[in-house]
């Protein structure tokens, strides 16, 4: 089933949560809505689910206008950040809920409901916990129950609101890989809301980056990462160094700047470079370089982070490999030459 929103606007009192948003999600696709808190991503998801209603615009499911329909009529699966499991029901009863409340003529016989619930509990690897109450489960287990519960009514659309946001880093990583495998298996059209760019880039087929109520860019993870449409997208998708560059210091040619037009004012454009694309040398080499002093070194992690201060007082962060770090034998207060490999300007 496809999801389409057209010209969606929604405000809460004076706050404009959605500002003429357009988005189309194709059948079987997993799209991540990525953005900082307050960017409107959760509101967009809740409007699609029918838990909020837009001030203007339309929500289409499978091409049918559902804007006026409430949540029960839309038949979408929804997974909440804080699980929202029914605390007075066991895991089994939670998963069975959606089926057991169906009107009598649509409701499958009890034996079928039970078989279906067991199948789902096996799918989320929680069949051993069927008789437990939600409060007796860990966070990761609870979210898997929530997912099984949403899947039980066989929704054509699955909406996930920061599903891993309340879990610790390790469980998060595990669960999102598991979610991707599950999606590959079931192929339900899915929308995932997250503020974690790594999660979005790893899990989604396409990523929509949101900022202040509108979508800045939609594209595959590769597209948005390598060809960000705006400074906001670039800034949001990773660490960066920012120069109110004196371009002459870099002696930049247009090729070094990429194809983007220059932003900022003519003499002080804003130029970005990612930490791992800053090259550190002992001796001057190449044309694009500045002199800097090593301020701080942190070698704990897959890359060595080197904090540098330029002679004009700007702070740069470079990330280099451990091999390169050993080769350079960097110490605090060493003078080095820094050259960027991919400059970006907006």
């Amino acid at each position: 089933m496809t999801i389409e929103v057209r010209n969606l606007s929604k405000s809460f009192a004076a706050f404009l949560a959605l500002d003429r948003v357009n988005l189309r999600v194709e059948t079987g696709e997993l799209v991540a809505l990525l953005g900082p808190s307050g960017s409107g991503k959760t509101t967009l998801l809740r409007v699609i689910a029918g838990l909020e209603f837009p001030d203007r615009g339309e929500v289409l499911l499978d091409g049918r206008d559902m804007t006026a329909q409430n949540a029960p009529a839309r038949r979408v699966g929804f997974v909440f950040q804080h699980y929202a499991l029914f605390r007075h029901m066991t895991v089994f009863e939670n998963v069975a809920f959606g089926l057991s409340i169906k009107p009598r003529r649509e409701r499958p016989p009890t034996s079928q409901i039970q078989a279906r619930v067991w199948k789902l509990l096996k799918l989320v690897q929680l069949d051993a916990q069927a008789d437990r109450y939600p409060s007796q489960l860990s966070g990761g287990q609870r979210q898997r129950v929530a997912l099984a519960r949403a899947l039980a009514v066989e929704p054509k659309v699955l909406l996930l609101d920061e599903p891993f946001g309340a879990l610790d880093a390790k469980v998060r990583l595990e669960l999102r890989r598991w979610l991707r495998r599950l999606h590959d298996e079931l192929r339900i059209t899915s929308v995932l809301v997250t503020h974690d760019q790594e999660e979005a880039l790893e899990v989604a087929d396409r990523v929509a980056i949101m900022n202040r109520g509108h979508i800045e860019q939609v594209g595959t993870p590769e597209e948005v990462y390598h060809r960000p449409a705006s400074a906001f997208v670039y800034e949001f998708l990773g660490n960066f160094n920012l120069f109110h560059a004196r371009l002459n210091a870099w002696q930049t040619g247009s090729d070094a700047l990429g194809d983007g037009p220059l932003g900022g004012s003519a003499d002080r454009p804003i130029v970005y470079v990612r930490p791992h694309l800053l090259h550190i040398e002992r001796r001057p080499c190449g044309q694009n370089r500045v002199v800097a002093r090593v301020e701080r070194i942190n070698s704990a992690g897959p890359l060595v982070k080197v904090q540098l201060a330029t002679d004009t007082g700007e702070t740069l962060e470079a990330a280099i490999s451990h091999d390169r770090y050993a080769e350079l034998q960097l110490r605090k207060d060493d003078a080095v030459y820094v050259s960027p490999r991919e400059l970006k300007a907006f």
Binding site: A49, G50, L51, N70, A71, P72, R74, R75, V76, G77, F78, F80, H82, A84, L85, F86, R87, H88, F97, G98, I101, K102, Y133, S135, Q136, L137, S138, G139, G140, A146, R149, A150, A152, V153
Partner: protein, 301 residues
């Protein structure tokens, strides 16, 4: 609000470690508390039963089986029986509105809910006399239609309901707010209708708080004196509730019957306390024990 605080204290017991204070401090504190409790609570309670049984069990039973006593018991049960469901409906509607919706006048409604707690019960009674009494706003219309509210059972039911109105709403609002709306929204996305959501998700989460509120409201309804006294007119055997009947007997120097009937109300109070204790214990078992288990598991995983 103190009642709500105790319920929540039961629900989430804090794990404060016991402190070591000098023995004389502990014994002075314990002695003072127990001594005062004995003097102000246990002694009067014992006195009620002692006076009631002064002339033997036969006199006690005779006092209770008196037709006027029976009519007072029936009226009290009738008033509480009407006030309970009315409070339940009002409490659920008001707390739902306050906890789940934003609307203009919400804080005004919150303040108004408390009015019966803050004004004197006598004034509450007088309000109804002003409205429905012979000289009141609707008095003429009521006499024309041969309806009696003041100095009759309907007036007593109205006064009792008014005085106990805030109890249930006051317990439910914090409970609904702390539970949040997410479970309800989850039920909706799973295809539940509004009623299915209410009966299967909202109400089960509220049941202990609701029962607690009902018990409190009921205890107050049966014991209410001031407001009921104003609207009742004290017609013996017709508009006397138990507390009013006790007063009449006492004023007539009939001490044994007065205390015998009073012992019924006291017994009711004791039963209420026991039921309250059971409800609190049940609620703490359902909500208190489990999360500890979960956090242990989380650590193990």
């Amino acid at each position: 609000m103190a009642r709500i605080a105790t319920l929540q204290a039961w629900v989430s017991p804090s794990g404060a470690a016991p402190r070591r204070d000098p023995a004389w401090v502990r014994w002075t504190l314990v002695g003072t508390a127990v001594g005062l409790m004995g003097l102000f609570l246990v002694l009067p309670l014992a006195a009620v039963f002692a006076y009631a049984l002064e002339k033997g069990v036969a006199a006690y039973l005779a006092a209770i089986c008196e037709p006027e006593a029976w009519s007072a018991i029936k009226l009290t049960l009738l008033a509480a029986g009407f006030a309970g469901p009315l409070n339940l409906v009002f409490g659920l509607a008001a707390s739902w509105a306050v906890a789940r919706f934003d609307f203009p006048g919400k804080s005004l409604l919150l303040t108004l809910i408390d009015i019966p707690f803050t004004i004197s019960p006598v004034i509450s009674g007088m309000l109804f006399v002003l409205l429905f009494g012979a000289q009141g706003w609707f008095g003429r219309w009521l006499t024309d239609h041969d309806l009696k509210i003041i100095f009759a059972a309907p007036g007593i039911i109205l006064a009792t309901t008014f005085v106990t109105l805030p109890f249930i709403a006051r317990v439910l609002i914090p409970q609904l707010e702390s539970t949040g709306a997410e479970e309800e929204q989850a039920a909706l996305t799973l295809g539940a209708s509004g009623w299915q959501m209410f009966w299967r998700v909202t109400l089960p989460n509220l049941k202990w708080a609701l029962l607690y509120g009902v018990i409190q409201a009921n205890a107050r309804a049966m014991g209410e004196f001031g407001a009921v006294s104003v609207v009742s007119g004290h017609i013996r055997g017709v508009t006397n509730t138990l507390p009013l009947y006790v007063e009449i007997l006492y004023d007539d120097y009939q001490l044994v019957p007065a205390f015998a009937v009073a012992s019924l109300l006291t017994g009711l109070a004791l039963v209420t306390l026991v039921v309250k204790g059971v409800v609190e214990w049940k609620a703490s078992r359902e909500h208190g024990g489990a999360p500890e288990l979960a956090s242990l598991e989380e650590r193990a995983a």
